[in-house]
């Protein structure tokens, strides 16, 4: 039941009607729980046990942590008179140790499940290859990925770490916690919500509100437009590129095909950038729109990422909630760890640390390393394949170098008298960042790491417009379809520029400033566009949401 399918829309509509129609408002969250449970079991019945394990273990661990804290506090309080400061500290340390062990065990279990299901086959095959054997002979787990496993594992473990850090109160009611983990609009592809921001919204009863309804419907429509008008149409070309053998070629309708040249590869990478953004952000818009209708505000996951002026800014605008999760639960613990501090002070105290470069490096080395690790993890999070590792490696190296070479950039800019606020400079930075992002996407499209490097080489060495003209016709799109994609991309670009300029979140916010008639007309045209240009119906083959597989 994809987010853009008619059954899902009907399901969401029925859920909304029952939710608002329930007379006992305090139980409205139960409607969401039942709907989420139904949605999960309907879509991933065979693998429902995995999400249950996560819910139960994380819930129990969080409860136990709270109990340990409470017991410790009670014990310290009861011995307030007879315990020394050292004894109180020892008691608290013991408590913290127990909590840490519990946290570690629960994280190990849940990430262990994720690892086994997602990465075991890859790792097992890789080890077999390293040992000279065939990856096919390596032991394999023949299971599909449970729906949304990466997302719900991160959501649940994030909550547990928050409880461990005492930043949130643990949820007492298991069913309420189950709703937080399995909430149906976000289970497929996020966003990765934080307990403190979402849980109270899920439990609070909401009444139907016109503004929420209007904005929600607009966001849903905008998301559907991005997904089935742009992303699914562009996917036809990307699919054709792959099925025609990519750069190596193959056979097209029985005729030999030599493979795509550098210009076609560049074109495909651009189309992929468009597809990935339209697909993922479109799905998020639909999820957020549904929640908005229900009166729940999900966190934003995108903020015009292709307008970023640096790669680190890009990652603050793209898949924002994953970035925030990584920052909170991976980056800071690494950057602030004793080891990092020791490395920093080690550099600072060395002879090299006395030089300007050494001083700078001592400041940024640990954060750069932490960033590198974060991006390696983000790459691995996307999937078990060397190309994803390549993707993480590329982003990690760029961010690490950006941090380390910061003063070099600054001095070069100063020497060249470049005005940082000049429009052309901003545009150049955007273009530069976009190219860096595109290089990362090559790893995403390619079959593997080696293929990605070959593709990159072709884009640099084999540019030919005449070859491109011949090859573009083999990508499965007609001239009219290219024109439709171009027009819809311009619409997308226009709204992105306006949102960026006015610092707004969604096109619904933008339209809100216009007269009612304009809003209705815009929605009408958008829906008409979806109906006419959308990829749906029996002859179409729309793509699954890309991030569903992650």
């Amino acid at each position: 039941m994809a987010l853009t399918s008619v059954p899902f829309m009907i399901f969401a509509l029925i859920t909304g009607i029952i939710y608002f129609a329930l007379p006992k408002k305090q139980y409205r969250w139960v409607v969401l729980l039942i709907a989420s449970g139904f949605f999960y079991v309907y879509n991933s019945f065979r693998y429902s046990a995995f999400i249950l394990i996560t819910m139960i273990t994380v819930y129990l661990a969080a409860r136990r942590m709270a109990d340990i804290s409470a017991e410790t506090k009670a014990e310290v309080r009861s011995h307030k008179e007879d315990w020394s400061k050292e004894q109180r500290k020892a008691c608290k340390d013991a408590s913290a140790k127990r909590r840490r062990r519990l946290l570690a065990a629960t994280l190990l279990l849940n990430f262990g499940i994720l690892f086994m299901l997602k990465y075991f086959n890859f790792l097992s095959g890789s080890i077999a290859s390293l040992l000279g054997g065939s990856p096919d002979d390596a032991p394999q787990i023949h299971l599909l990925l449970p729906l949304g496993i990466s997302f719900y594992t991160f959501i649940a473990t994030g909550y547990l770490i928050d409880v461990y850090r005492d930043t949130v109160e643990p949820e007492k009611n298991f069913f309420r916690f189950a709703l937080f983990v399995s909430f149906f609009p976000q289970i497929i592809q996020g966003p990765i919500s934080q307990f403190g921001k979402l849980q109270h919204q899920l439990i609070e009863p909401h009444d139907p509100e016109w503004d929420n309804f209007k904005k929600g419907i607009m966001n849903i429509s905008w998301g559907v437009f991005k997904k089935i008008v742009i992303a699914d149409r562009v996917w036809i070309a990307i699919k054709a590129y792959n099925s025609n053998g990519g750069i190596h070629g193959g056979f097209i309708e029985g005729e030999e095909f030599a493979g795509y040249g550098g210009t076609a590869v560049l074109f495909i990478v651009l189309l992929y950038a468009l597809q990935l953004y339209a697909d993922f952000s479109g799905g998020i818009d639909i999820s957020r729109g549904i929640c908005q209708v229900l009166g729940i505000q999900l966190e934003a996951n995108f903020r015009q990422p292709y307008f970023s002026r640096s790669i680190s800014e890009y990652w603050r605008r793209w898949h924002i909630t994953l970035g925030a999760w990584m920052k909170n639960y991976v980056f800071y613990p690494i950057a602030m760890s004793d080891l990092s501090k020791r490395i920093s002070s080690g550099i600072a105290k060395s002879d090299f640390g006395a030089t300007p470069a050494g001083k700078h490096l001592s400041k940024v080395f640990t954060t750069a390393m932490a960033s590198f690790i974060v991006f390696m993890l983000i790459g691995i999070w996307h999937g078990a394949n060397s190309r994803y590792i390549g993707f993480g490696l590329w982003n990690g190296i760029i961010i690490m170098l950006s941090a380390m070479l910061g003063p070099v950039y600054d001095s070069t800019r100063t020497a060249l008298h470049i005005n940082e606020n000049a429009a052309w400079w901003k545009l150049f930075q955007m273009l530069r960042t976009f190219i860096i992002v595109l290089v990362g996407y090559v790893f995403d499209i390619a079959e593997n790491f080696t293929n990605a490097l070959q593709m990159l080489k072709l884009t640099l060495t084999d540019q030919s417009l005449s070859a491109f003209r011949d090859q573009v016709s083999t990508l499965g799109l007609t001239k009219q379809e290219y024109a439709a994609v171009a027009f819809c991309t311009l619409v997308l670009l226009y709204f992105s520029i306006r949102l960026e300029k006015l610092s707004l979140d969604t096109p619904a916010d933008l339209l809100e400033r216009r007269p009612g008639l304009v809003q209705w007309a815009a929605l009408f045209l958008l829906l008409l566009c979806i109906l006419i240009v959308g990829v749906y119906g029996p002859m179409s083959d729309p793509a699954d949401f890309i991030y569903m597989q992650f």
Binding site: L531, V533, Y536, P538, M539
Partner: protein, 392 residues
């Protein structure tokens, strides 16, 4: 006490307006979809126009219904047949139609007509299995003009069981399948609307190419009655069609239109044998069967003059084939001149005038080597109006 009442009234006002706006927008979307589905979904081809025009024919005014694929309309002229033999006919035919289209077309036709004879082009039934399994556009054209009924739903369900990659929803609501055609159909919208509001066409679904081309002489071996086996599924479809016609008390004549078959077209030579098998099935089941390929020379057909390609006759060939088939229908199937109301007779007489003008125009174009694909359409109607000197 008054204040809350005022607030209540103020609150109610936008709710009313909002509800009205939502309903208006839903109505607008539904109307747009209905409009596009009706006028801008299925490409405005000669096949589509011919089907639309069939539904404009006055009730029970067609005595001979011809169904099948392209040879039906390229080789036979209804107006010419009326002029020579006096019976009314119409080619309810769609290019590339396979045997899966026959039954739905006849079912649809019976909604408004009670033909005395159904003439079926067997060549479309002799297509390869993969084409029978996959050709659905022809069915879409038929269903998009078939009136909604329980029989239509059953027919759609049956077609979906025979043809791959189809769905009942898309036959019922072609917009689901063909919505992407809408932008390309915008240019044809004016003519589509003209057609919607005009009466029956005096061109009676005629369609040809104004050319003759160099073709290898017809291979006399193609005049055979020898057969090749049909695919089991296809044979079942044909037998089911015959059963259906019998259940509706319809007389059926299966015909094989003449083609310039030679070694240049080995696939068609093979199809020719399968088409013979269909004629054999027809005879075995008490239906009429006519192998016109055998009468190629009897019709005085000339490969270099009478065909615009090896499978389709031009106007010269069309006249010869219509005369031959018309005579067969008259003499062997016993179809005499149609009994028509005065207005219907006047319309058919007008069709004869138009046919004569069309014939002269296309023959001249063939002579002048002015190659053109001409078929019954609002554009051709406008041209013919200028030629005939009448305004419709």
């Amino acid at each position: 006490m008054n204040k809350p009442e005022v607030n209540e009234k103020q609150n109610k006002k936008p709710y009313g307006r909002r509800t009205a706006a939502i309903l208006l927008m839903i109505a607008g979307l539904l109307f747009s979809v209905w409009f596009m589905q009706r006028f801008m979904c299925i490409p405005f081809s000669y096949d589509e126009i011919r089907t639309i025009n069939f539904h404009k024919e006055p009730e029970n005014s067609i005595d001979v219904l011809l169904v099948g694929s392209s040879a039906t309309y390229s080789d036979f002229s209804s107006a010419c047949a009326y002029e020579k033999f006096g019976f009314t006919s119409y080619p309810y035919a769609i290019g590339g139609a396979t045997s899966t289209m026959w039954k739905p077309a006849v079912q649809d036709a019976l909604d408004t007509q009670r033909p005395k004879l159904i003439v079926v082009d067997v060549f479309g039934g002799a297509y390869e299995r993969d084409l029978i399994d996959t050709r659905s556009n022809q069915l879409s054209i038929v269903y998009s003009h078939t009136a909604f009924s329980e029989e239509k739903l059953d027919s759609i369900a049956e077609s979906c069981s025979l043809v791959e990659d189809t769905s009942e929803e898309s036959f019922l609501f072609p917009f689901i399948k063909y919505h992407n055609n809408v932008p390309a159909c915008i240019k044809d919208l004016p003519d589509r609307l003209v057609l919607e509001f005009s009466g029956p066409s005096p061109l009676k679904g005629v369609n040809t190419h104004t050319r003759s081309r160099w073709l290898m002489p017809v291979d006399p071996a193609s005049f055979t009655d020898e057969t090749a086996p049909l695919d089991e599924k296809n044979e079942k479809i044909i037998l089911d069609f015959i059963d259906y016609c019998k259940s509706e008390d319809l007389e059926v004549l299966f015909v094989k239109y003449p083609m310039v078959l030679s070694d240049d077209y080995p696939e068609e030579l093979e199809m020719n044998l399968r088409a013979n098998r269909i004629l054999e099935i027809a005879r075995e089941n008490g239906c009429g069967a006519l192998n016109m390929q055998k009468h190629f020379n009897d019709m005085h057909l000339k490969e270099l003059r009478d065909f615009y390609n090896h499978g389709h006759a031009n106007t010269r060939g069309q006249i010869k084939i219509t005369e031959f088939l018309g005579r067969y229908i008259q003499d062997e199937m016993g179809i005499g001149p149609s009994e028509l109301s005065e207005s219907d007779k006047a319309a058919w007489d007008e069709a004869v005038v138009w046919w004569n003008a069309f014939r002269d125009m296309t023959l001249e174009e063939i002579r002048d080597n002015k190659i053109e694909d001409v078929g019954d359409s609002p554009a051709l109607v406008r041209r013919m109006e200028a030629l005939v000197g009448s305004s419709r």
